[in-house]
């Protein structure tokens, strides 16, 4: 019996020792080099969130040598899809790594911030090379030393970027006048309406006639009433019209003394939404929730949605289909298979777009080069091709209906009679937006936009629901805002 006990005790001790040993054995310097020049290591389609375990490049090679891993960070696969379909200049020995963290609960920015703050001490292959930012928080990164000047540091020329819409450059220009990012899209806002519902309510689905009926807020209200009488809702939820008001404000969210300022236009949004909610003109949904998504689909009874240009191909299209697109089929990857999978599917083709009661813009994604990147040349190539090349950008628009960042390319398509969007029932929506894209004014943005925009929508949801009164909702908004940004003050 004691012999057995001794063997057993010995086994247990050995097992414990081995668990410690396993923790130590990761960094084996004798590991053979994973990538070699003969390896056709082009774009990596698999989403691998872990950095490549490559050993560092040979220190004897001069510093100009490009890094072997291109790390791109984002919060969704919008850019990834475009990159894989349209960018062909990745050198054979470079591996592209996409790290995607969803932006819910601020997870993307938290992860990005941590990685950027430790950029200096990270291994070359782990350093972030390129990352995406949204309009709402672009200023935070633009004004920090973590983004590179695209002209002086990355190497783009003024000629390269001359074809872009100027507002896309203004928004990412820091306080010293340096441009810190670039985008492939411009995002004029529009109102997407259900053609079938418009025919029922207004008697027509022709975009010009619908626009006439919705051209001012007063007329918008009238149509809402008519839609209600026929049993439809004008809007899906509380946040749908938010951007129409918030992007036409006359002052930024935060003034020079760090006071939170609620602009008159935001006030107008609160009043309109409360009015609509009380009269039952909306379904009480919040942006991005399940009910909101299903309202855009075949079961929905909503007249229309306020959307920006990226919303059409990226969000509305997916929500409008009855059967989801098969894996791997996208407008960018395989236009023919895409056509087959979408025609007659759900309410594909039942949407049309008009400018709506007020001009506005909504969001957009920018590419920023991270300070400390070891792939400057590749980054420059990517930026040049994906955001400056008129041919590439025009192809992107033809395939995806996204409104791309090249004045000439867009105006060409606008004048082109043959360009029509199958999803929008044959409408040439680019023609509608070339004018409004030129007039976008982003001068009232602040680094606090994201938290404050989300905060006010969340806080006033209770007010629209009838759960709290106006003053309590306002209090809740200030409380949440100051929790998120402790350096702000309530007026």
């Amino acid at each position: 019996m004691s012999k057995f006990k001794r063997i057993f005790a010995l086994m247990l001790a050995l097992i414990m020792v081995f668990t410690f040993a396993a923790c130590n054995g990761v960094d084996d310097p004798d590991e053979p080099v994973v990538t070699d020049p003969a390896d056709p290591g082009v774009t990596d389609p698999a989403d691998d969130p872990d950095p490549d375990p490559d050993p560092d490049p040979d220190p004897d090679v001069p510093a100009v040598e490009q890094g072997k891993v291109l790390n791109v960070w984002g919060w969704n696969d919008e850019f990834k899809g475009l990159f894989e379909a349209y960018f062909e200049g990745v050198p054979d020995d470079v591996e592209v790594n996409f790290t995607l963290t969803p932006s819910d609960d601020n997870a993307y920015q938290n992860a990005l911030d941590e990685a950027l703050l430790s950029q200096e001490t990270a291994a070359d292959d782990d350093k972030i090379d390129l990352f995406l930012v949204e309009a709402d928080y672009a200023l935070k990164y633009v004004n920090s030393p973590y983004t590179l000047d695209i002209i002086n540091d990355v190497g783009l020329t003024q000629e390269d970027i001359a074809g872009q819409y100027t507002y896309t450059q203004e928004i990412v220009t820091d306080s010293n006048g340096a441009i810190k990012g670039t985008s492939w899209q411009a995002t004029p806002g529009l109102f997407a309406y259900r053609r079938s519902i418009a025919k029922d309510v207004l008697g027509t689905d022709d975009p010009a006639a619908v626009q006439e009926a919705l051209s001012t807020w007063d007329k918008f209200y009238e149509v809402a009433e008519q839609a209600n009488e026929k049993g439809y809702k004008m809007l899906s939820g509380y946040d749908d019209s938010y951007r129409t008001f918030s992007n036409n404000v006359s002052s930024p969210w935060v003034d020079e003394d760090m006071n939170i300022v609620i602009d008159d236009n935001i006030q107008a949004w609160i009043e309109q939404t409360k009015d609509f909610s009380d009269k039952g003109y909306n379904n009480g949904t919040s942006l991005w929730d399940d009910q909101w998504a299903s309202d855009q689909g075949p079961e929905g009874d909503v007249f229309g949605f306020f959307y920006s240009t990226w919303g059409i191909n990226f969000t509305l299209l997916g929500n409008a289909l009855e059967t989801p697109l098969p894996d791997g089929v996208s407008a960018t990857g395989d236009p023919d298979a895409f056509k087959e999978a979408t025609e007659g599917n759900g309410i594909f083709g039942d949407y049309g777009v008009v400018e709506g009661p007020q001009n506005y813009y909504w969001g957009g994604s920018w590419l920023c080069a991270a300070t400390g990147t070891d792939n400057v040349e590749l980054v420059r190539d990517i930026m040049k091709t994906m955001t400056c090349d008129p041919e590439v950008l025009q192809t992107i628009t033809k395939d995806t209906q996204d409104f791309t960042n090249n004045v000439e390319a867009m105006e060409e398509l606008a004048a082109d009679d043959d360009f029509a969007s199958a999803f929008l029932g044959g409408q040439n929506h680019i023609a509608l937006f070339t004018e409004s894209a030129k007039g976008i004014d982003m001068s009232n943005i602040s680094p606090y936009d994201q938290g404050l925009n989300e905060g006010i929508q969340t806080a006033f949801k209770d007010y629209f629901n009838g759960n709290v009164d106006y003053d309590t909702a306002l209090d809740n908004f200030y409380t949440a805002a100051i929790e998120k940004y402790p350096d702000l003050k309530r007026p």
Binding site: D105, N106, D113, L116, L117, K140, Y141, N143, S144, Y146, G284, D290, Q291, S294, P447, T458, D462, N465, N467, V468, T472, N476, T479, A480, E483, K484, Y485, P486, D487
Partner: protein
């Protein structure tokens, strides 16, 4: 003389210290040092604005004053207490009932081990996953609402009504923990000496009197343990309401618990305020545990 010193009694006491060492080193590194540094940093103003760090600058008791007087802390404390007590009372009552039934020789329930396994199972599910499940089930377009509509009633928004929101969190807490409590109390009841129960029976005590005067006092230590651990768990309630309300804290923040509020401060890495709140919670938990312990166990000394 020499013989006394030579008579070595083999002392194994040093091995005791050696075996305690791993626990203490882990405790010091992972619990004691963070605890001390949290208390230390709670006296500093320290948060991030965008990518720039503000602080740490010493501000003394400012953080504590802000937390206690300028925020809605009493509201969140009340939320936490209310949701906890609403879940705890049914939990303890039903657990006592089930424990007595399962251990009763008179009733002799068939398949009792099957039942015991099943009621314990919810405790094994990760609380976050459980919460996510309820979130999907009770959402405005979820299965439960569909059933309600098909029965002819109007769609009820569980998430947006104060009662529905809190009620579901209470239900989740109850389901998660009543199995655990039942097993514990059963262990306590089975430990009661049979002779005492026989004596009570001979004296003519019915089942209710036996329960009230014999069983309950005998399992008092177990009940104290359950109360204290449940209370500590209640103060720290976080994952269930956070996932269920998507971080919002329910309509008008009526389901926001203390730790959810703490989590909000970590959004901007506000270590100053978060530290102050943590210290306050630590003190509150310690006081409550002490009070409960003293009140319910001092009678044992008699």
């Amino acid at each position: 003389m020499k013989s006394l010193k030579q008579r070595k009694s083999i002392s194994y006491s040093k091995w005791g210290y050696v075996f305690l060492l791993p626990f203490f080193s882990v405790f010091i590194v992972f619990t004691l040092i963070p605890l001390v540094s949290t208390i230390y940093y709670s006296f500093f103003e320290n948060y991030m604005s965008g990518l720039t760090q503000i602080g740490p600058t010493f501000v003394g008791l400012d953080n504590y004053k802000t937390i206690l007087f300028e925020t809605d802390l009493p509201k969140y404390a009340w939320n936490t207490f209310f949701i906890w007590i609403l879940g705890f009372i049914p939990q303890i009552l039903i657990s006592l009932l089930l424990a007595v039934w399962f251990t009763s020789k008179r009733l002799d329930i068939k398949f009792s081990s099957f039942f015991k396994t099943v009621i314990y199972m919810p405790n094994l599910i990760m609380a976050a996953a459980f919460s996510m499940l309820f979130f999907a089930l009770f959402s405005d377009v979820g299965p439960v609402n569909n059933i309600i509509v098909s029965l002819g009633f109007e769609r009820f928004s569980f998430m947006e009504s104060v009662g529905g929101n809190r009620g579901l969190i209470v239900l989740m807490n109850f389901l998660l923990w009543f199995g655990n409590t039942t097993i514990l109390i059963m262990a306590g009841v089975m430990g009661i000496d049979d002779s005492i129960l026989e004596a009570a029976q001979i004296d003519g005590a019915g089942p209710w009197k036996t329960f009230w005067h014999v069983t309950l006092p005998s399992i008092k230590p177990i009940l104290v343990y359950v109360l204290i651990t449940s209370m500590i768990g209640g103060i720290q309630m976080f994952d269930v309401p956070q996932i269920f309300t998507n971080g919002r804290g329910g309509p008008n923040r009526t389901s926001m618990t203390l730790i959810m509020y703490l989590n909000n401060h970590l959004f901007s890495k506000n270590y100053g305020l978060a530290g102050a709140l943590s210290v306050i919670l630590l003190i509150a938990t310690a006081i409550l545990s002490f009070v409960v312990y003293r009140n319910l166990t001092e009678k044992e000394a008699k």
